[in-house]
């Protein structure tokens, strides 16, 4: 059944349609663009409520919540400094998202790579601590974020003790064969940076002796590091004499 021609529509109806459309466009043009503000980030709902609201789709809900949380930072045309966000709330949201979708890496990426970049040491430490606590729950899946946290602690916070703590945690808990050696050896290099040459040398020597490293390039690199450590130790012993 073909429709009648547009010319069969009375002019008054066309005029009404055009006027209503123009009014809608004018209203929207006058309406301010919605903006997110730091104060708008509400407290994270309880996990039970989120599970209920997800209607049996926790992974989809977790991803949507990640995008929702993401909206509270950089918007087109404006920039909300992360430091203005309530980090207790941010932490709660990130934990809820992880609880909804434990294998998801997005929240820990946000914690370790984004929210920890603020020029506020307390907030940086809060995000690194979150990465550490969440790492302990599933070490073999979340080691990369703690590795990043260790690097952050070393280079940004200049807290070698914290970096060593994180690096040791990776070495002790991330035992899967999929965890690369560089991550599990990180504590040795931190020890080296701390001047703990002797301890680093023992750990590195033990690692090479264990045969766990099979890649020839890696064995050569670590052997060179061991030789350097031994050279440093010899020179320091000679200078003491």
């Amino acid at each position: 059944m073909a429709e009648r021609a547009i010319s069969s529509v009375p002019n008054a109806v066309l005029a009404l349609l055009a006027a209503a459309l123009a009014s809608q466009l004018a209203l929207k043009a006058l309406e301010p663009r919605p903006t997110a503000t730091a104060a708008d980030l509400s407290p994270a709902p309880p996990i039970a409520a989120l599970r209920l609201a997800s209607l049996g789709e926790p992974i989809a809900a977790a991803n949507l919540l990640s995008l929702y949380l993401q909206a509270f930072d950089t918007q087109s045309g404006i920039s909300i400094p992360f430091k203005d966000l309530d980090y207790d709330r941010v932490e709660d949201w990130l934990i809820r998202i992880l609880e909804l979708d434990p294998p998801g890496q997005y929240p820990l990426l946000m914690a370790s790579q984004i929210y920890s970049q603020v020029p506020d040491e307390k907030k940086q430490r809060k995000m690194l601590d979150l990465a550490y606590r969440q790492f302990l729950l599933v070490p073999n899946q979340r080691w990369r974020w703690l590795a990043h946290a260790a690097i952050m602690a070393k280079h940004r916070l200049h807290d070698l003790g914290l970096a060593l703590h994180y690096a040791r945690a990776i070495n002790q808990h991330a035992t899967s064969a999929e965890v690369p050696h560089w991550a599990r050896q990180m504590h040795i290099f931190v020890l080296e940076d701390m001047g703990e040459h002797e301890t680093a040398k023992i750990l590195l020597g033990g690692l090479l002796a264990s045969g766990a490293i099979t890649d020839a390039h890696e064995v050569r690199f670590l052997t060179e590091r061991l030789n350097t450590l031994q050279a440093v130790e010899k020179s320091s012993t000679a200078s003491e004499k």
Binding site: S7, L14, A15, L16, A20, S23, S76
Partner: protein, 270 residues
């Protein structure tokens, strides 16, 4: 054939009685279909549900009850109004009631206006019933503003349902369209915010395109997240300043939807 004057086709004063009769029978149909009874039962059940939730709450139990009751009542009202209108108009299309009406001395918009007027009265009645338990829990002023906003929201939904059924003439596509529209209108602000976010600092084509799409949708849709906010009831947030904007948006959008429905109805061949 181009029509000479619009006045012959738009409802004039001499048609007002017929438009009024259509509206009256639409309201009567809602009463006889037990829509109002259904709404009262739903309100009672949802009030019981909110009481149950209140008993479970450790703290802020009244706030929690109000929030749950208000949000569920809002969705339930929209659900009832949408299905009632779509179902009623689908039946009229299938039973050739519309064709019978059009065979009378009544312009097409007269039928549409009569039906919408009846649906608007039903929507206002539903909003009034739904606001009663909310007014018991929340401050009266806030509940009144919430109820007015809900009534306006239901008017938009009623106009949208009329438009959809006029365009699609079938229940399923019309219901799907109304549902998608409502969900989108309630989340368009959040979608706009999300699409504008660029954490990586790289404004790629995909992101720009999604931001443009979200902005385009925001122009076409009413911001229904600004309507009927639970925060008015529980946070003592001033609702009155927002109401003026909501009234304006409703007037414009209802006009737009009804004009679009008239446009579609005029183009239909029977």
């Amino acid at each position: 054939m181009k029509h000479a004057t619009a006045t012959a086709y738009l409802p004039s004063w001499r048609h007002t009685r017929r438009v009024g009769a259509i509206a009256r029978y639409t309201v009567l149909e809602a009463w006889r279909n037990r829509l109002i009874v259904l709404v009262v039962v739903a309100v009672a059940l949802l009030t019981l549900l909110s009481l149950f939730a209140r008993e479970l709450a450790v703290t802020e139990s009244e706030r929690l009850q109000t929030a749950i009751l208000a949000s569920t009542l809002r969705v339930a009202s929209v659900f009832f109004i949408t299905l009632y209108i779509l179902n009623g108009l689908t039946r009229e299309f299938n039973d050739k009631v519309l064709e019978l009406m059009l065979s009378l001395d009544l312009p097409r918009p007269g039928y549409l206006m009569g039906k919408f007027l009846g649906f608007a009265i039903v929507a206002l009645t539903v909003a009034t019933i739904v606001t009663v338990p909310v007014a018991v829990l929340a401050p009266f002023d806030a509940a009144l503003a919430w109820g007015c906003s809900l009534a306006l929201e239901l008017l938009i939904i009623a106009a949208l349902s009329v438009f959809c059924i006029t365009t699609f003439t079938q229940l399923l596509p019309a219901a799907a369209f109304v549902t998608a529209f409502y969900l989108l209108a309630r989340s368009i602000t959040a979608i706009q915010l999300m699409s504008g976010s660029s954490l990586l600092g790289v404004d790629g084509f995909g992101q720009k395109a999604s931001a443009v799409l979200a902005d385009a949708l925001a122009i076409a849709l009413p911001r229904m997240d600004a309507f009927t906010q639970t925060a008015w009831l529980v946070n003592d947030a001033g609702a009155q300043p927002a109401l003026l904007g909501i009234v304006l948006q409703t007037a414009i959008y209802v006009g737009l939807l009804l004009a679009a429905a008239m446009f579609d109805l005029y183009r239909k061949n029977f």
